[in-house]
């Protein structure tokens, strides 16, 4: 067992933590609403190699492991960053996998000249709904029947105002170049969705961890009835429960990421576990983080509400915690038979 990031991974975390702290303040997050995209932040992330790192070396990338990406996603969530990091990484990896790293688009994606995303569900009757990063991406990978299609989003995507101020779009008239077909293509896409689950779980952990810190700082300062709020068990004990879940969510998301290479037979199950557990943890932690701010927590001016809304959105564009847990149940009850 070694549950600590190695020296290189700690450097990676420090670099991204500094970048996000610099460019991703609550004021900038507000300014990037309602469609959750800050081009200046995205350019800096691209320049730092946030997409290139995720691509395999065969595609000119740095070949980062999912654990490395998971550590970046934690920082992304801690800053509720308005940038399509997870979608661009996962879609880029999928395109590389489907084309053996040969797609001419890959260098453009790594350089930020093209923004590729993916629809999380197969198109139904030519329509893909709530595509993450669909409102800002120019290209998307979409499953149509048993094929993966690469399509231009121009003229097809309609941005959707939403709870988490994510750059979501509904995509109509899905059509484009068939990149791959058959069971292998569908399986590769399923792997991409599992990667998305793990990275989103890590980001939701980041949301939960940071909102817990904000809440703890606040209840140490704020006085009521002659003592700090944190000196009441009704407050302290609920935060202790959340702290436990936050740590558990981090361990589980990291284990899921680690399993992709180390124990691939468990990867799909752990990915679903991680998303379900992190989404619940982010939901509950932000609930109490807002609640213990009292009326101030409800004000747009206080950053904690930014976390509350995103905690309920980032994972839900794919599935609810109950959906994730049913998926885990399916692996045990149905497929194990």
């Amino acid at each position: 067992v070694d549950l600590a990031p190695n020296a290189e991974q700690r450097q990676l975390v420090d670099a991204f933590a500094a970048l996000y702290a610099d460019l991703c303040t609550p004021a900038e997050i507000h300014a990037a609403e309602p469609h959750g995209y800050d081009p200046a932040l995205w350019q800096r992330l691209i320049a730092t190699g946030v997409v290139a790192m995720a691509l395999p070396e065969s595609a000119g990338g740095y070949g980062a492991s999912l654990v490395d990406l998971c550590l970046v996603a934690e920082q992304h969530g801690r800053h509720v960053a308005p940038a399509p990091v997870i979608e661009a990484q996962v879609a880029g990896r999928l395109l590389a996998r489907l084309t053996d790293g040969a797609s001419p688009l890959l260098p453009e994606i790594a350089a930020g000249d093209r923004l590729l995303t993916l629809a999380l569900r197969p198109a139904v009757a030519g329509r893909a709904d709530l595509v993450p990063a669909g409102a800002i991406a120019d290209t998307a990978l979409v499953v149509v029947d048993d094929s993966v299609v690469l399509m231009s989003l121009a003229g097809h995507a309609t941005a959707v105002d939403n709870l988490g101020c994510m750059p979501l779009a509904d995509v109509e008239d899905v059509s484009g170049e068939v990149i791959a077909s058959g069971p292998g293509a569908v399986e590769a896409f399923a792997t991409a969705i599992d990667e998305w689950r793990v990275l989103t779980a890590a980001a939701l952990h980041g949301i939960a961890a940071r909102s817990l810190e904000i809440a703890v700082d606040y209840v140490k300062q704020r006085q009521a009835f002659g003592r700090p709020l944190g000196a009441f068990q009704g407050v302290a004990h609920r935060l202790a429960d959340r702290a436990t879940e936050v740590d558990g969510a981090q361990l589980l998301a990291r284990e899921a990421a680690w399993s992709q290479d180390a124990e691939p037979s468990r990867f799909a199950t752990l990915a679903a576990m991680a998303l379900g557990f992190s989404a619940e943890t982010a939901r509950d932690t932000t609930y109490f983080a807002v609640h213990f701010h009292g009326g101030y927590g409800f004000m747009l001016e206080y950053p904690v509400q930014l976390y509350f809304r995103r905690a309920r959105t980032w994972g839900a564009v794919l599935e609810s915690p109950a959906d994730s847990f049913r998926r885990v149940g399916d692996f045990r009850l149905v497929e194990a038979d």
């Binding site: 140490k220 944190g230 009441f232 202790a240 558990g248 847990f325 038979d337």
Partner: protein, 388 residues
């Protein structure tokens, strides 16, 4: 990063499974269930023969010198199968305190017997008038020359009826602040003035209330300094607070899944296809994974010599609170036949789910209540003030 326990641990896990398959018979489990006693001499003897009573102890102390991760793998298997190790656990925990802090004479007397499964030691911290506030102990020990006279009572002295000693926290200086007037003793139970009364619990477990009416204990049975009992307790508690209950969660999940595969609804559809059953299965499995990870982290930190403050509490708090919720929601999904207890011919899974409802509630209370652990986490992890 590596989440595996390692080759040595997995090897020991395999050995433990094979050992349990062979030694932990239905008959032993049945006896434990019937008597409510989480101890069986044959099983204890078999563990002794494997050298597993003290597998994590240093070799020079009579143990196997195995690392904490091996001990964890062993413990996960023991818990999952509900092997009767409670009396052995308290005995070896106290023996370890004696190994750390006892006199040479105490070590000579107790350690060989403990390692040989020839002695059992019960815990005597809680009293009728104080539970979580263990330092409020009112049982008195008054010194007269080379011996002490003990008077008072201890609650939940589990296994006292089969034990040789009770490891007792007693008040030796009523004038001192409450944490500084306590001393620990190893009190022999087979002597005049000791009275043991059975106390039955909701889970069928037998525990006791024990009374001490002017019980005379030689000073040689004092563990640690006079009025230094709280320091001794810190050593003993450190062990108890890193428990986790993922083993119970496994047993509940396996019973639930076995039921789901067998049962059908009114229309003949398998319960395994019911979305609510699938969701509960997945959620329990997820919480089980988190329970195991939280404990694994606490043990890993300890084995690396990293500071541990609150990680053990998190493992205990999470695993027991979630176990309780799992048992309740599982029963709701199983429906009214889940109410049938063991012994009823049509009881669901032999009454295992009904029994877990009883058992789970206790787990959030003993080994530090959930409130004690939340207090530890909020103070030592979050840095919040002591709360009331």
């Amino acid at each position: 990063m590596d989440f595996r326990l390692g080759e040595k641990s997995e090897q020991l896990r395999k050995e433990t499974r094979a050992f349990l398959d062979e030694v932990l018979t239905e008959e032993i489990l049945e006896t434990c269930h019937e008597t409510g006693v989480n101890h069986h001499p044959d099983f204890a003897a078999a563990l002794r023969d494997k050298g597993w009573l003290a597998l994590g102890w240093p070799v020079e102390a009579g143990g196997q010198g195995r690392d904490p991760l091996e001990v964890l793998a062993y413990g996960e298997e023991i818990q999952r199968r509900n092997a009767p190790v409670y009396a052995i656990g308290t005995t070896m925990a106290v023996a370890h305190v004696i190994y750390d802090l006892g006199t040479q004479a105490q070590k000579d007397e107790i350690l060989p017997k403990a390692l040989n499964a020839e002695v059992l030691i019960a815990l005597g911290f809680t009293e009728p008038e104080n539970g979580s506030d263990a330092a409020a102990a009112a049982t008195r020990a008054v010194r007269a020359g080379d011996s002490w006279t003990i008077s008072g009572s201890k609650m939940f002295t589990t296994n006292a009826q089969i034990a040789d000693y009770v490891f007792m926290l007693a008040r030796t200086n009523p004038e001192a602040p409450k944490h500084r007037g306590l001393t620990t003793f190893l009190v022999p139970l087979d002597q005049p003035g000791v009275e043991i009364q059975a106390v039955r619990t909701m889970s069928g477990e037998r525990t006791n209330i024990t009374f001490y009416n002017d019980v005379v204990v030689a000073d040689k049975w004092r563990i640690g300094e006079v009025d230094g009992g709280w320091n001794v307790m810190a050593t003993a508690f450190a062990h108890e607070h890193t428990a986790s209950f993922s083993g119970e969660q496994w047993r509940l999940l396996e019973a639930f899944e076995a039921w789901a595969r067998d049962a059908v609804d009114d229309n003949g559809a398998s319960k395994a296809a019911d979305p609510a059953v699938r969701a509960r299965t997945g959620k329990t499995r997820t919480e089980l994974e988190v329970s195991a990870l939280l404990l694994r982290r606490a043990v890993w930190r300890k084995s690396e010599g990293l500071p541990v403050s609150g990680e053990g509490s998190m493992a205990k708090l999470f695993s027991t609170e979630r176990l309780e919720q799992q048992a309740s929601t599982t029963l709701e999904l199983v429906g009214r036949d889940g109410l049938r207890a063991r012994g009823d011919a049509t009881a669901v899974q032999g009454g295992r789910i009904e029994h877990m409802i009883r058992h789970a509630k206790g787990t959030t209370i003993y080994a530090g209540t959930s409130e004690i652990h939340r207090g530890i986490i909020s103070q030592h992890v979050l840095g919040l003030p002591r709360s009331y």
